[in-house]
């Protein structure tokens, strides 16, 4: 059975927004299953038009490119609905392929994961 990596993406600060994708894409390349959980300002990564505004000079790919890599690699992307009012977004504002999840989704998937990373 493939190893599972769960990544908690809690910030749109480029220094914190990019590492989940660098490590997550590496995990996919290593045949791991990856779930990314976006909450708080990290929701801006999966908001329509949001990733384009998060820029990190010197990074190997842009954030939209990284999102494409993760989605094509089969990563599961979950947006935390409890943080929607905080990030001032609605379900319709999310990019395609992102599901809504909550506390139960995070804790149960995290328990089942071999590796949990938080940013």
């Amino acid at each position: 059975m493939a190893a599972k990596m769960m990544i908690f993406c809690g910030s749109d600060d480029p220094q914190k927004a990019f590492p989940p994708f660098m490590l997550g894409s590496g995990a996919l390349a290593t045949d791991m299953e990856v779930t990314m959980f976006f909450t708080m300002s990290g929701l801006n990564i999966v908001k329509k038009g949001g990733a384009e505004k998060i820029v990190l000079p010197g990074a190997p790919k842009t954030l939209p490119e990284f999102i494409k890599v993760m989605q094509e690699g089969g990563a599961e992307m979950i947006a935390c609905s409890a943080a929607f009012p905080i990030a001032k977004i609605e379900e319709e504002d999310l990019i395609d392929g992102v599901e809504c999840g909550g506390v139960a989704t995070f804790v149960i998937d995290a328990e089942a994961a071999d590796i949990v990373l938080t940013f």
Binding site: P85, C100, G101
Partner: protein, 85 residues
Amino acid sequence: MMAEVDLENIEVAKVVDARGMACPGPLLEAKKSIGTVSVGQTIEILSGDASTKNDLPRWAAKVGHDFLGALAGEGYDRLFITRKK
């Protein structure tokens, strides 16, 4: 999970109105309420939170209850769980 359950006509022992609560409110209400019905009885949780329809099936599977399915209300979901233990 049971297949082909007629949710519209299912007998519900308790309806929990968690509309207006953000996650994890509906989950915590489900946890509290399932303990107030007998094994084999079903509770219905009403939730307007977009996550609940994904959270409750995972939670039920994890803790050993049956998630029967969901019906869409107007602006909320109706979710059905049978207590199994």
